[in-house]
């Protein structure tokens, strides 16, 4: 058993209007000349410290939580789960 830091990121699905991201992109990033940036999306990050037998199990455990407790809503969100290095 080990302790793993698992990061879950929930952001809006592509194609859904994301006013916060649009404003950051248009009025901050582009306005200051960082024109190499082509898209910005905003999300929420959750960091969970999980006790598990392996990093894969820790990730799957967090994915299960996200699905069952609807930490994200698949109708409008994308979920990205990864292990913290």
């Amino acid at each position: 058993m080990g302790l793993y830091r698992v990061v879950a990121v929930v952001s809006y699905r592509r194609g859904l209007k994301d006013p916060e991201a649009e404003t950051i992109y248009r009025d901050l990033i582009l306005r200051h000349g960082y024109s190499a940036v082509k898209e910005v999306r905003v999300g929420k990050q959750f960091t969970l410290l999980v006790e598990a037998e392996s990093p894969e199990r820790a990730v799957n455990y967090v994915k299960e939580i996200c699905d069952k407790l609807m930490i994200y809503n698949p109708v409008i969100h994308e979920l990205y789960v990864t292990i913290h290095a």
Binding site: L16, K17, P19, E20, T23, M70, N73, V75, I76
Partner: protein, 231 residues
Amino acid sequence: MPKIAILKFPGTNCDEDVLKSLREVGREVRAEIVWHKDFRLADGWDAVIVPGGFSYGDWLRAGAIAARSRAVLELPEAAIKSVPVLGICNGFQILVEAGLLRGAFLPNESGRFICRWVRLRVDNPKGPWLSLAKNGDELHMPIAHGEGRYYIEESDYKSITSSSPLIRYLPNDNLNGSSYDIAGVGTEDGYVLGVMPHPERAVNPLLTPRGFKPGGEVIFRSILYSLKSGW
């Protein structure tokens, strides 16, 4: 006398207004504000209202945490037992998050909290909450929300548009960018209804701004009438 439960969560703040509206509209009703931990459907409630506010501070997403509470997990049983359920504003968000109604909510398209009176139209009124409304009725009520942009996939919309009660913003009054101008939606039988605008703030003519009529009254009159005489 019909018994109506008004569910309260930490952060609910429209419960007193709902109670007052019900009492203003009809004397023969026993309405009570019930703390979510004390709520038991088996206590013989004839209808349940989930009022607006900011349950659990809108953390995670508006309504997401209350939707997983024991009280709300009992509500699908209400639908089976034909106990009418109404969700107002945050209550609507809770019912959607709990999967009792279709769709999802996103932050308003403008990115701002909007508090304004709007004009609505009733389509296909059905069930206990709209029994006294007529198809095409124009209702006026205020909205007050930050996450009110109703989103529904096209295929889901097609399956409800002819069968379920819908309340729509008039085209110029869809201020949050909701899909298909949807401000309220019900289940096919209309037992469960969710509305984003606040009927409880649109009952008293004294509190209704010039140019508008108190359009929330019909919802409270409907439920009292329905519980007494059927629908």
